[in-house]
């Protein structure tokens, strides 16, 4: 008995000691996620909060002292096949992030020391057959758990403190469909929401709602012909060719209890029907709900309303970007969403009615314009069979890519990357694919070329997100493919493709600091505090579908840049 008491006393002492060194932690519940923007010490979700601002109000690191920013610590995850593409998260001084093969790490935010790691066992044979694999773009936190999707169709919940799996839910038959999950989940109240990849596959782009406690599927929404009305927009049962992946996590509007999500293109990418696309070709009709923004009830998965940004997308300029910027302006509640084609759509949050459309990319000719009042496409350039007489702009890599910009409530500016490139295109009549796995459905041959107005390039724009009015612009010799971070310290961080992390003055665009991380960036960037100190965390690690275009287009350093090396680099002011 005496020994028992002594043992218990020792355990209690040990527990107290652990509590003394461990950072204070409170539950990540619905209210903490909803109020995430009010606590810049954490970065709790992919978009940094439901408003998708990707903004940190922290200002310890600022325009005056950024010249003293230096590497605080580095974490090397290894096996970073096709780059480190994820957005790190932070809660109560602990940093969480994922790497290729859905490997998850919890690290001490101040030192980088490992707290736990989790390496899921994946179906490697399946991985070898996938195109958009094995990278992972992010995780989610909630209910004491860390959530990660896998390329073989699972959503896994890990204990936040130990990394031990609490549940492992198979949502997709990836053996049959080829597609899996690469995007981050989104937690809304007691539901974990995740969308599958795929615009070139026979999948129907499902979006899933899963019970946060048990891993049980609560609902599934098919972005391809998910309703009877939508099925009628695919002539000749062509919905079987699929597409419409709901790749990236969307946004949430708590006032109306609505999630906003973007969907990918229909398959095949290119269509030989030309202007007769309503009646002939591989997928006659508008092809709902591909290349659309959809608004769902997060509790039931029921569709509330939608807007199809490009009816019958015949160019692979999809709506899969997950950035839904919630902006209140002059009494109007708006949501801003970038489309891959290079246009930015502004919607009414109540009903997805178009309020404005403006151009971020300069070289666009797949339409003459988009009506800023209605969203109607004006002067569509529907391709016909054979070689197009002039290049299609932008190129398949898009005028806008999937990573996120950053909106600063302090400056009222949205910092967003635009891409300038075009492609020669030959449309080929192919056999619609409905069953075989591991077989893409493209319908064309193409070659990336410079745009009419100069060399292929990228640019960081500082713009009003509602009107599109530009305050300043910085040009890059190659498009930066990573996300952007604006901070309360009057800074904008841009991790570029060559591997240089830049810091700009948020008001003027003047470069204030830079640091070479050794390999290109193709993932997220965020800020948090640990022990009261501000850190900036950026994954470096090059790879992925757009990055793969760079060696042929730009030469070095991309020709010799490794696509299996990555490191999480964390900075602080000395």
């Amino acid at each position: 008995m005496a020994m028992g008491i002594k043992y218990l006393t020792s355990c209690a002492a040990l527990a107290l000691a652990v509590m003394a060194v461990a950072p204070p932690a409170s539950a990540i519940d619905a209210s903490r996620l909803q109020d995430a923007e009010q606590n810049p010490n954490d970065w709790l979700s992919y978009h940094g909060g439901y408003k998708s601002y990707h903004y940190s109000a922290l200002d310890q690191i600022n325009a005056d002292n950024v010249k003293n920013l230096e590497v605080a610590w580095i974490h090397m995850p290894g096996r970073s096949t096709r780059g480190l593409q994820s957005m790190p998260l932070a809660a109560d001084g602990v940093l969480y992030y994922s790497g290729s093969y859905s490997r998850v790490y919890a690290l001490d935010g101040a030192t980088g020391k490992l707290i736990w790691s989790y390496f899921p066992e994946l179906d490697e044979e399946l991985v070898s057959m996938q195109t958009h694999s094995p990278y992972n773009r992010g995780i989610a936190l909630g209910d004491g758990k860390v959530f990660v999707g896998t390329v073989d169709g699972r959503l896994i919940a890990l204990d936040m403190k130990t990394g031990k799996p609490e549940w492992d839910a198979r949502l997709l038959d990836s053996k049959k469909l080829t597609v899996g999950f690469t995007g981050a989940p989104l937690v809304v109240k007691d539901t974990v929401i995740i969308g599958s990849q795929g615009g070139e596959w026979t999948s129907r782009g499902p979006l899933f709602g899963v019970d946060i406690k048990t891993g049980q599927k609560k609902w599934e929404f098919l972005t391809v012909a998910g309703t009877e009305d939508a099925k009628a927009t695919w002539g000749n049962d062509s919905w079987r060719t699929g597409g419409g992946g709901a790749w990236m996590p969307g946004g949430y509007d708590p006032e109306t209890n609505t999630i906003w999500w973007g969907t990918a293109n229909p398959a095949p990418l290119y269509d030989w029907a030309g202007a007769d696309w309503q009646k002939s070709g591989p997928r006659p009709g508008t092809n709902l709900y591909t290349t659309s923004v959809i608004a769902l009830d997060p509790d039931t998965g029921k569709l509330k309303f939608y807007h199809q940004e490009l009816p019958h997308d015949a160019w692979d300029f999809d709506s899969a970007v997950g950035e839904f910027l919630m902006i209140d302006r002059d009494g109007r509640k708006l949501v801003v969403h970038p489309n891959k084609g290079g246009f930015v759509f502004v919607y009414d949050r109540a009903n997805a009615k178009v309020q404005n459309v403006w151009r971020l990319a300069k070289n666009i000719n797949f339409v003459k314009d988009i009506d800023p009042k209605t969203g109607e496409l004006i002067g569509r350039r529907d391709l016909s069979l054979g070689k197009a007489s002039s290049p299609l702009c932008p190129a398949i890599a898009g005028g806008i890519s999937w990573n996120s910009g950053s909106y600063s409530p302090k400056t009222g500016l949205w910092y967003k990357i635009g891409q300038e490139w075009c492609q020669d295109i030959e449309v080929v009549k192919t056999t619609p694919i409905t069953e075989p796995m591991a077989q893409l459905n493209i319908g064309g041959n193409f070659k990336l070329v410079p745009p009419p107005d100069g060399p292929a390039r990228g640019h960081l724009d500082a713009r009003d997100p509602v009107t599109g009015d530009k305050k300043w612009e910085v040009t890059f010799s190659e498009p930066p493919l990573a996300s952007v971070l604006a901070t309360g310290g009057n800074l904008v961080f841009v991790p570029d493709s060559r591997g240089v992390l830049h810091a700009y003055n948020a008001e003027t665009g003047a470069e204030l600091w830079s640091h070479y991380n050794g390999v290109g960036h193709n993932g997220g960037i965020m800020s948090y505090t640990a022990g009261g100190k501000q850190y900036i965390a950026v994954p470096a690690g090059w790879g992925g579908m757009v990055a793969d275009e760079f060696p042929a287009l730009f030469g070095e350093p991309y020709k010799s840049m490794p696509k299996d090396a990555g490191a999480l680099v964390v900075f602080a002011v000395k």
Partner: protein, 125 residues
């Protein structure tokens, strides 16, 4: 229709044999041709079916995503026109892919389809 399909298969095989010196016998070719099928949506344009084992069409379906300009220039994947790799190497690369760079298509394409794609690559200028 079957006759036209068979003719198309034989033409592709002839192209491969000319390019590679492969001495394939007809009894060997026939079952390969029979298994050369891709699934198709009901009520789709049936005339497209003949292209099931046409290397150029299959290339534009699955390969052109990475091997640009129909394989004539480098893109996500390398330029294939004028490759010095052997037919066996090309066929094996299509079957098994390259980890982290190219998917394995061995489970999606039949052997005759793979050979037709190899023949298409060989014919590139």
């Amino acid at each position: 229709m079957l006759l036209r399909l068979t003719t198309a298969i034989l033409m592709q095989m002839k192209a491969i044999m000319l390019a590679t010196g492969m001495a394939l016998s007809l009894p060997f070719l026939w079952p390969l041709g029979v298994c050369a099928q891709q699934s198709q949506a009901p009520n789709q344009d049936q005339s497209a079916k003949e292209s099931d084992i046409e290397g150029g069409t299959m290339f534009a379906t699955s390969c052109g995503f990475c091997h640009q300009d129909g394989g004539r220039t480098a893109g996500k994947g390398p330029k294939l026109a004028g490759t010095t790799r052997s037919d066996d190497f090309l066929a094996e690369r299509i079957r098994k892919g390259k980890p982290g760079a190219m998917p394995a298509f061995g489970g999606a394409f039949s052997e005759s389809q793979i050979m037709a794609i190899v023949a298409y690559i060989r014919a590139l200028e």
